[in-house]
Amino acid sequence: MGTTRPSNVIITLISIAYIILFVYTAVSKLMHLSQFQLRLERMPYMESIAPWVAFGVPFVELVITGLLLIPKYRLIAFHACLGLMTLFTAYSAIVLNFSESIPCSCGGVISAMGWKVHILFNAFFILLALLAIFQIKKHKAQLSKQHTT
């Protein structure tokens, strides 16, 4: 009791990285919501859904943060992290095929990154989510094996 496995430490550290990322970007977006909406309206394919996305993205980010805080829901949270980051990355990659410069609506200093750096940054977080999912599943499999033996 009270001991920490290396896999638990990895999962917690990845959770913290995602909590910092999502809380930071959500708060940055919410502080300038109208400006965030304006930038979204100027992005390709976003014009009609910009008001929904402007509220939806920070809301989803904060919900995922809440799920990451509860160990029971971490697997669902990491799947959501993976989905959201993949969606952002796929959208950026598709849009960059059509335009060299698109206004970034990422929130805070993250918008200061170039688009290529931004895609690499997202890819790194996608890998972290995959690693966390793998570790949680491995940990669960070990637990069920211990119960059966």
């Binding site: 009270g2 001991t3 920490t4 638990n8 430490v9 917690t12 959770s15 913290i16 909590i19 910092i20 990322l21 999502f22 809380v23 930071y24 970007t25 708060v27 940055s28 502080m31 300038h32 109208s34 400006q35 304006l38 930038r39 100027r42 943060t65 990451l68 805080l69 160990p71 410069s101 698109i102 206004p103 970034c104 929130g107 805070g108 200093v109 918008s111 200061a112 170039g114 688009w115």
Partner: protein, 80 residues
């Protein structure tokens, strides 16, 4: 004790740090009125967050956005 730190203290610290960082790195580029020339409707005004300086021209759809109604001072994208 170690588990307690991992489960509660670190996530709480992470949230506080992220909120603090968001305020600390807050950039306040306010919105302003910009103008573009529509081929049928003429000069149109829009609300934009494009600043007066930069490298990439600010666009509203296919139209370039300017700071003044005479369409002489161009505006630029906030950042790439």
């Amino acid at each position: 004790m170690k588990t307690k730190i991992l489960k509660f203290i670190l996530p709480a610290f992470a949230i506080i740090m992220a909120v603090g960082l968001a305020f600390a790195t807050d950039e306040s580029n306010a919105t302003q009125t910009g103008y573009y020339n529509h081929p049928i409707l003429g000069v149109q005004s829009i609300s934009t967050d494009c600043p007066d300086f930069g490298t990439v021209q600010c666009m509203e759809g296919p139209y370039q956005v300017f700071k003044d109604q005479n369409l002489t001072i161009p505006l630029y994208e906030p950042r790439e």
